[in-house]
């Protein structure tokens, strides 16, 4: 039996005997649909335009594997992997930021404020300069570094359980340790090594192939459902540890699972796309404010992240093709005014905060 009233879906099944209320927050649903449409449009532009332009018809043919060889090569080998990396990395970063902001109950928390991204940078610098893990691609090194620093933060913040507050403070410490280590390694490096490290640290999406998109897609396929399943507990966690515990949430275990998930998402995204800053911080806030939700909505944050990175990459690739502006710079110019506009707008309509 189904009954829909004022955005609530009451359902009762006779077998198995289950009933409940699904609250559809319409704003979130609309936001998700709108973002998905925008993403589809951006993808079409990303793959159809450029030095080698394709008609929509030709693009569709090539995607289905039925076009000319040149079309197939451009779409499948050059443009689709790059767009996929942008899409998935943005989603992973947005989701990761939403998790960190909920768990620490701090709108400024994100993997690039708490040292996950910096850990990846240190690992890449160490690999290039010292030859640690020789033969490993920067991608693998970055992944290992980010995961290691995420784990280090959790373990260092552990003392008969953790608190969001202690995680934030330890994250600051770990983050700055990593920054100073990276910089020390850079100052010791030869010029060509330093250039290699800096090229990665700046974070751009040039020359991304399926070998970058593959692991990221796999990670998202595992982590996205797991994190979404924890969503209910994540919401109670926002009420504070005592209240959440009283409501029956296994606080420490949920926090561990969420943080590991968030750190892993950020780690895989950083490994594939390099350290793209600001997205993980801004996307959840933009999604939350657009949907007028009380906490960052997970799916919408992921979609917002995808949109920012994809559009940012599109702009840096097509409009500013001659310059060497990394995608992180463009996402800053793109995302920041939007967030500011939202802050101003929300205040006017009296829903600030």
């Amino acid at each position: 039996m189904l009954e829909l009233s004022r955005g609530r879906l009451h359902f009762r099944l006779t077998r198995p005997p289950v009933s409940g209320i699904l609250r559809l927050r319409l704003a979130v649903v609309w936001l998700g649909a709108g973002l998905a449409a925008l993403l589809a449009l951006c993808l079409t532009v990303a793959m159809g335009s450029g030095d080698y332009a394709l008609t929509p018809h030709g693009l569709l043919n090539a995607l289905l594997g039925a076009g000319e060889r040149a079309d197939l090569f451009v779409v499948w080998e050059l443009r689709l992997p790059r767009a996929t990396v942008a899409l998935l990395a943005g989603a992973a970063l947005g989701l990761s930021g939403a998790i960190f902001q909920s768990v620490t109950r701090n709108p400024l928390a994100s993997p690039d404020m708490l040292g996950i991204t910096q850990g990846a940078g240190t690992a890449v610098a160490a690999g290039v300069v010292l030859g640690t893990g020789a033969g490993l691609a920067p991608q693998t090194l970055g992944l290992a570094g980010a995961l290691a620093s995420g784990l280090a933060i959790y373990l260092l913040a552990w003392k008969r359980g953790t608190t969001g507050y202690r995680i934030v403070l330890v994250g600051i410490g770990v983050s700055w340790m990593c920054v100073s280590l990276t910089s020390y390694l850079l100052s010791r490096a030869e010029l060509y090594q330093a250039q290699k490290v800096l090229g990665w640290l700046v974070g751009n999406l040039n020359d991304r192939g399926w070998q970058h998109a593959g692991p990221l897609a796999l990670a998202l396929a595992v982590l996205l459902p797991s994190v979404l399943l924890l969503g209910r507990w994540q919401r109670t966690l926002r009420l504070g540890d005592e209240v959440a515990g009283g409501l029956g949430t296994p606080v420490q275990r949920v926090r561990l699972a969420l943080l590991l998930g968030g750190a892993a998402l950020a780690a895989f995204a950083t490994a594939a796309a390099g350290p793209v800053l600001f997205v993980a911080l801004a996307a959840p806030q933009i999604a939350q404010r657009t949907a007028r939700a009380g906490s960052p909505p997970l799916t919408a944050s992921a979609l917002t992240g995808s949109t920012i990175v994809l559009v940012g990459d599109l702009i840096s690739q097509r409009l500013l093709a001659d310059s060497v502006l990394p995608v992180g710079v463009v996402t800053g110019v793109l995302g920041a005014p939007f967030l500011l506009w939202q802050l101003a707008r929300a205040n006017r309509t009296g829903t600030g905060g």
């Binding site: 507050y165 410490g173 770990v174 910089s183 801004a282 205040n347």
Partner: protein, 324 residues
């Protein structure tokens, strides 16, 4: 009191240690009576190292104090003195001045940095304080970080396309305490003094604010006034410090946390103590940076981070945290 003594010792060490080590008694003589020592020693101590030490002490005190006020004002442990967009504004001012106007001197650059810092802070404050609730902590912090990223991106864009601007920006942003004389110090000293007075006077109000907005208002605090005063103090302190030394990060962020584990959350103790501890950390880092990779030197804020971070993590683990 302990930290004041440590600071005095560090000042002396800072005058004595460097690529040419000078005995302490000679340092004392060079300060009291420059004519009685080797002119080279007098030039090093009285000319280079004295100003370097003064810059470190002033900038450290300003950043520590501004960081403590910033964290009290936004009630956010991730807040650093640059959160109002001050550091990013200063960088943008310098790059813009060098790129568009061709300004290259040290003192004019400082004024442009200061103007950029002030403009960014005003923009953040206006954007964050619109509408209901005024400049609430979350709105202020978010507006600040958005403006910071926006300006950083623009700075990066200009610096990457204009070699002249990049050069100037790199010189400034290497976070250096060196190369300054009495003129620069005198130019920013009034701003630092005014900012420090204003910051210290907000301490009781920040204490009420830490109980929550409603409670603070019920206690008779005028929230808008407190926030405006705090923001003004932060802008003066950070703007002046950053304009001279370039962005020195970490110190302003971590020192208030360090101090809070000892003094507790009372801002009347927290603010003056941060003002004393921050220069200690900065000076210690500066001295160590001179020694470790002699004869070249390491960036002071990175040494501070490398020194301070493990200590900070250990302290965070040991103590019961006084949350903001």
């Amino acid at each position: 009191m302990g930290s004041a003594a440590v600071l005095a010792v560090l000042c002396l060490l800072s005058l004595a240690i460097g690529s040419r080590a000078i005995p302490l008694d000679e340092v004392a003589r060079a300060l009291v009576d420059p004519a009685s020592v080797d002119p080279e020693v007098a030039a090093i101590v009285g000319g280079t190292r004295l100003f370097r030490t003064l810059v470190a002490v002033l900038a450290g005190a300003a950043l520590g104090l501004a960081g403590a006020v910033m964290q009290g004002l936004t009630r956010n442990p991730l807040a650093d003195p640059g959160l109002l967009g001050v550091s990013a504004g200063a960088a943008f001012g310098i790059v813009l001045a060098a790129g568009a106007l061709g300004v290259s001197g040290l003192l004019p650059s400082i004024w442009f940095a200061f103007a950029g810092a002030a403009a960014a802070a005003v923009a953040v404050y206006l954007l964050g304080s619109r509408g209901r609730g005024g400049a609430s902590p979350v709105k202020l912090a978010l507006a600040g970080i958005a403006v910071t990223y926006l300006l950083d991106s623009l700075t990066g864009g200009i610096a990457l396309t204009d070699p002249e601007a990049l050069d100037r920006y790199r010189y400034w942003s290497s976070g250096s305490l060196t190369g300054h004389d009495g003129g620069t110090l005198l130019a920013v000293a009034p701003f630092l003094a005014a900012g420090a007075l204003l910051a210290l006077s907000t301490a009781p109000a920040l204490n009420s604010l830490s109980l929550g907005e409603d409670v603070a208002a019920a206690l008779g605090r005028r929230l808008a006034l407190v926030r405006l005063g705090g923001a003004l103090a932060i802008t003066l302190l950070t703007g002046a410090a950053v304009a001279v030394t370039g962005p020195i990060v970490f110190v302003g962020l971590v020192v208030p946390h360090l101090v809070r584990t000892v003094t507790g959350p009372d801002h009347r103790w927290l603010l003056p103590s941060s003002m004393l501890v921050a220069p200690c950390l900065l000076l210690a880092a500066d001295i160590l940076g001179r020694v470790v990779v002699r004869p070249s030197e390491l960036d002071v804020s990175l040494v501070a981070a490398f020194l301070g971070a493990p200590f900070f993590i250990a302290l965070v683990r040991r103590r019961r945290l006084a949350e903001l």
